[in-house]
């Protein structure tokens, strides 16, 4: 089977995009991506939009068709990919499938969400609507799942509370060098540890913000990519998996089986091992999630993930840099866009286009996009064409 390539990528500035709505954001990222690839809109066969809640947040449905018209991409086939916070990763999987199957020769994926016009409580409730009725009626939110899990993790593995704070410090520091990040401001550990409690033991700086933004990627067969450009990456592995809908039914709440299973399949597809991954974008919606994914992706033994931040391994100059983009924590988390934006960072790092946060000639990177509290997960491995 011919490999699937990514020949273009883009990302709008993330943050409070006052006066701009989902339609504007998607069109901006989609047009920028086509421009980056040097491909006309009428060449697009399939157009996917990763989005969680445009109807609930903005009262706008039918978004893929709207975008196809705004980009003049009709009669492209369109579909909306909703997998809550992992809609972007699921979109990558769908885009890869469309090209790998031969159904499409050129697939444009655009992820986006408009959120900042809602109060924090309203936005939190829209996100919490993914929970089971038995959870929702108790007022459970995704941040409260993080608090529950963080307390258990710290207790079970004797990890210091400060290690979670250091994740926030690292990712904010990386975000300073990302011109499109929502927060380009470094924070120190004391600030993190003294910020207001949101879900005990986690505090404000342990959480990502509410964000507007969009990101896009263009997929095609590698043979087509070679005709278009010398600057492309290949999707060597991609897979998705689920865990229980009811979070408390998991035997071990500190293990995300969706991460374990999706990465196992992605590694197998790419013929890679965790040791082959040179850097990764992880879904740090909450600082605790960086530890859980780090372990469940096979980068550390269970209960040892927190030691990586203490040892500096996940810093930009460490042996396995994590979230060079600033992560969701600093870059922002526009739900449907985040999984795509993670892959955009991997793409830019592989092509040497990451500016001041550029790593030293990486060839293999991974993105892990988590929906719910690990309810559904997509893991993607991208490589340079010549990666060994």
């Amino acid at each position: 089977m011919e490999r699937v390539a990514i020949v273009g990528a883009s990302m709008t500035p993330f943050g409070d995009r006052e006066g701009e709505w989902l339609r504007d954001l998607l069109a901006e990222a989609g047009a920028d991506c086509l421009d980056d690839a040097g491909v006309d809109a009428d060449a697009v066969d399939h157009l996917y939009v990763s989005n969680m809640a445009s109807g609930e947040l903005e009262g706008q449905t039918g978004v893929p068709n709207m975008l196809a018209h705004d980009l003049a991409a009709q009669p492209a086939y369109t579909a909306r990919i909703d997998q809550t916070s992992s809609s972007g990763g699921a979109g990558i999987y769908a885009a890869w499938q469309s090209v790998a199957s031969g159904a499409s020769e050129t697939t444009l994926l655009v992820g986006g969400e408009k959120m900042t016009h809602k109060t924090t409580g309203e936005a939190t409730d829209v996100i919490a609507s993914l929970t089971h009725p038995a959870e929702y009626k108790h007022g459970v939110t995704l941040p409260s799942f993080a608090g529950l899990t963080a307390r258990l993790y710290l207790d079970e593995y004797d990890a210091p509370r400060e290690s979670l704070g250091k994740v926030a410090v690292k990712n904010h520091e990386n975000g300073v060098d990302n011109p499109k990040a929502q927060f380009r401001k470094a924070v120190d550990l004391d600030t993190v540890l003294e910020s207001p409690i949101v879900a005990d033991p986690l505090r404000l700086y342990d959480f990502c913000p509410i964000t507007d933004g969009s990101a896009a990627m263009l997929f095609c067969p590698e043979s087509v990519a070679r005709e278009i450009t010398d600057e492309y990456v290949v999707v060597s592995g991609v897979a998705g998996a689920t865990d229980t809908h009811v979070v408390h039914e998991r035997p071990d709440p500190t293990t995300m089986r969706g991460v374990v299973e999706s990465s196992r399949q992605a590694y197998e597809m790419a013929d890679r091992e965790p040791e082959d991954i040179e850097f990764a974008e992880l879904h740090d919606m909450f600082t605790i999630l960086e530890f859980l994914q780090f372990e469940d992706l096979g980068f550390a033994e269970k209960g040892e993930g927190w030691k990586a931040i203490e040892e500096g391994r996940t810093e930009r100059d460490g042996d396995l840099p994590i979230n060079t983009s600033g992560g969701l924590k600093s870059k922002g988390h526009p739900l449907g866009a985040s999984g795509v934006a993670q892959a955009v960072e991997v793409y830019e790092q592989l092509l040497g286009e990451a500016g001041d946060r550029q790593l030293d000639d990486p060839e293999i990177g991974l993105a892990c996009n988590v929906g719910g509290f690990g309810n559904c997960v997509t893991t993607t491995i991208l490589e340079t064409p010549e990666a060994e």
Binding site: E56, T120, G121, E122, T124, D125, V126, A128, S129, H132, P133, A134, E135, Y136, K137, H138, G139, V140, T141, P143, S144, G147, L148, T149, R151, L152, D155, P196, I197, V198, A199, D200, P201, L202, V246, V247, H248, E249, P253
Partner: protein, 127 residues
């Protein structure tokens, strides 16, 4: 929201392999349909973990104390998530469920009020 003792059951489902889940599901492990129910309100449980959430959505008490607890039903572990009466527990503490008529205001959240029930069980320490 009014608290009151009443007779409602905290119904968990038992499956052919002996496992029990709360809430129940139409199909359990191996795709098997449930074979019976268990009323967890008659049991005590141990706190697995807890949190206090200060950023609560519309219609939810603030702060909202929550816990995951584990029941032991004749040697079978069954976990549940629920509100705590107060922030006065720690991991490993023993708690008991008590019924509450309305856990959050159904009229102010995004979910259709008629789509689910809104009563349930909170947990409090066993004296």
């Amino acid at each position: 929201m009014s608290d009151q003792q009443s007779d409602p059951e905290m119904t968990a489902y038992r499956y052919p392999d002996g496992s029990i889940t709360y809430p129940g599901h139409p199909y359990g492990p191996g795709g098997e349909e449930p074979v019976g129910t268990v009323d967890l309100s008659e049991h005590t449980a141990e706190v697995v973990t807890w949190t206090t959430s200060t950023a609560t959505p519309p219609g939810v008490r603030q702060p909202n104390h929550l816990a995951i607890v584990e029941f032991d039903v004749d040697g079978v572990p069954v976990r549940a998530l629920g509100q705590l009466e107060k922030e006065n527990v720690d991991i490993g503490d023993t708690v008991e469920p008590f019924h509450v008529e309305e856990l959050r205001d159904p009229e102010t959240g995004i979910r259709e009020p008629e789509s689910q029930d809104w009563d349930g069980f909170r947990f409090r320490p066993v004296e």
